[in-house]
Symmetry: C2
């Protein structure tokens, strides 16, 4: 097959877009799509300071790279979860990219802040690890973005992540989540950072090709506590449909976005009496955990490597 | 495994309901569920005359049997599509059941009414066979129900049919169909018969077991023009999820029913100037086809065998 742009040998064939491209043209094709998505959905405006949440995996690291490559100044934020070698390896990939981009990265070590890693914490609190991890991540990302004065928090969820989560929410009609998976969630001054997902329309396979062709070094292991069977099963099933009808996943999430724009209701927001961040109760989950296990004072953030 | 009701050897294990039953108790368990669904959703009231659309397959023939067995007087309606031996075999299974139940069955022969079978008709009209078949079936069912003075039209769609169609509508957000797959659709006096689906919450596997254990003889071949890959793929995928999480299909369609009750919009109805039945244009599709290929007069219905 020939590259549709330059006529050289094609390296990547994207069935959903019915296009074959050489490595170089694929990289700019993908970056242009991120750029267009960012503009079309008003994700990040010119001159805004962006903070990318980087886990050390292919999506978030590539996203961080792409943003800086398309003219958006983006720093990184990483949470070291204290899951042994997995967390150390993740951090080192993140540091590597920070150096490559010559950008700041903020790091929070759960063990320093809460005295223990995510698994031990979940055990002691008798909570499910992945659910607790999600809660803590959302809290920390939001807090760092606001305290460090970033305009927008950027997440690396790709098309497959969004489509599979959406399918799960629809199969069980989880109404409390169903209309909240938007590509952009508005913030509330001083309380809630605006959150955006520029990879919403880019598939996992495309991101893997991008990372590979850009020579981005990332953690390939799944988190040992990974959500497991359910999400992976949904991804597999959607890929089966995608094989039969290329483009299904994109149509699915774009149809959802159009629908969510109309049906998505604004939630009433409540704020924690202690820290001021969004909460379902008087005191937020994290403040309650901090009281019990933490240092008593707000979580500490480091900047690493110290380029700033 | 032992039957949960009587303690004898169990023949059927229904994972979605986490219950094992012997043949006899399974039959009454399933009939009770159809009966409860019929009552709970107000499908058919005491004393109403019901007309079951019977194709000759396991679902519609079993449904016809069940209704008469739970005290609902139901006649049958069959359309002979003129698909060679397949249609003749289907008709003979339907007649067999009519005799077993000693109930009337109305039959329309496409070849007599329109001079040709469904496949030839589709070819000459340059339409897709399955889509044309659906249009004609909906028209004829509705017309027979109203002209023969039945109170309610009963369809044999099972849980797997509904869940897979729903999944397809959601993957592509087909808004024009999405909120219309209800378990019960109200009628309009003189124009549109009420339509109900008592098997909405009963799986394909349960229906196959029922037909087998009741000794119901049905056509096992798929229609040679069957919708094919897409619907079958969706069914397969949903069954994969069902395997992991028994009960998913039921929760999926019940969640949908709850949602559809709120979101489903009432459509504006328009009626054909010639026949008076629902239409998207001044003259309905069927009247236009009838003018071109038909006898010119309304379609003829037979009653077979002549028990009435």
């Amino acid at each position: 097959m020939r590259c549709k742009r330059c006529g050289r040998d094609a390296n990547v064939h994207i069935r959903a877009h019915n296009i074959a491209l050489c490595a170089e043209d694929f990289l700019s094709f993908l970056e242009r799509r991120v750029s267009e998505t960012t503009r079309k959905y008003g994700l990040i405006s010119k001159g805004q300071r962006a903070l990318v949440c980087v886990s050390g995996g292919k999506d978030s690291l590539s996203l961080w790279y792409i943003l800086n490559n398309i003219g958006i100044e983006a720093d990184g934020f990483h949470i070291h979860l204290g899951i042994g070698a997995y967390s150390d390896k993740s951090l080192s990939k993140v540091e590597q990219m920070a150096e490559r981009l010559a950008r700041k990265v903020h790091v929070t070590f759960l063990q320093k802040t809460l005295g223990q890693g995510i698994a031990e914490l979940a055990k002691r609190l008798k909570r499910q690890t992945c659910s607790l991890c999600g809660t803590l991540k959302r809290y920390l990302m939001n807090r760092v973005a606001i305290e460090k004065d970033y305009d927008v928090l950027v997440l690396g969820h790709n098309l497959d992540d969004e489509a599979s989560a959406l399918l799960g929410n629809i199969l069980y009609w989880r109404k409390e989540y169903l209309w909240r998976k938007h590509i952009s969630l508005e913030g509330i001054e001083g309380h809630l950072a605006k959150k955006v997902k520029p990879l919403f329309l880019i598939s996992e396979r495309e991101m893997a090709s991008y990372a590979f062709l850009r020579g981005i070094d990332y953690v390939t292991d799944e988190c040992p506590y990974a959500a497991g069977a359910k999400t992976l099963l949904y991804k597999e099933l959607l890929n089966r449909v995608e094989e039969e009808s290329p483009g299904t996943k994109i149509r699915f999430v774009m149809g959802y976005l159009a629908q969510a724009g109309r049906d998505g209701e604004k939630r009433e927001r409540q704020f924690c009496k202690l820290c001021g961040y969004p909460s379902y109760a008087e005191r937020c989950v994290v403040c309650r955990i901090l009281e019990r296990f933490g240092t008593g004072r707000p979580v500490a953030f480091e900047v690493y490597p110290r380029t700033g």
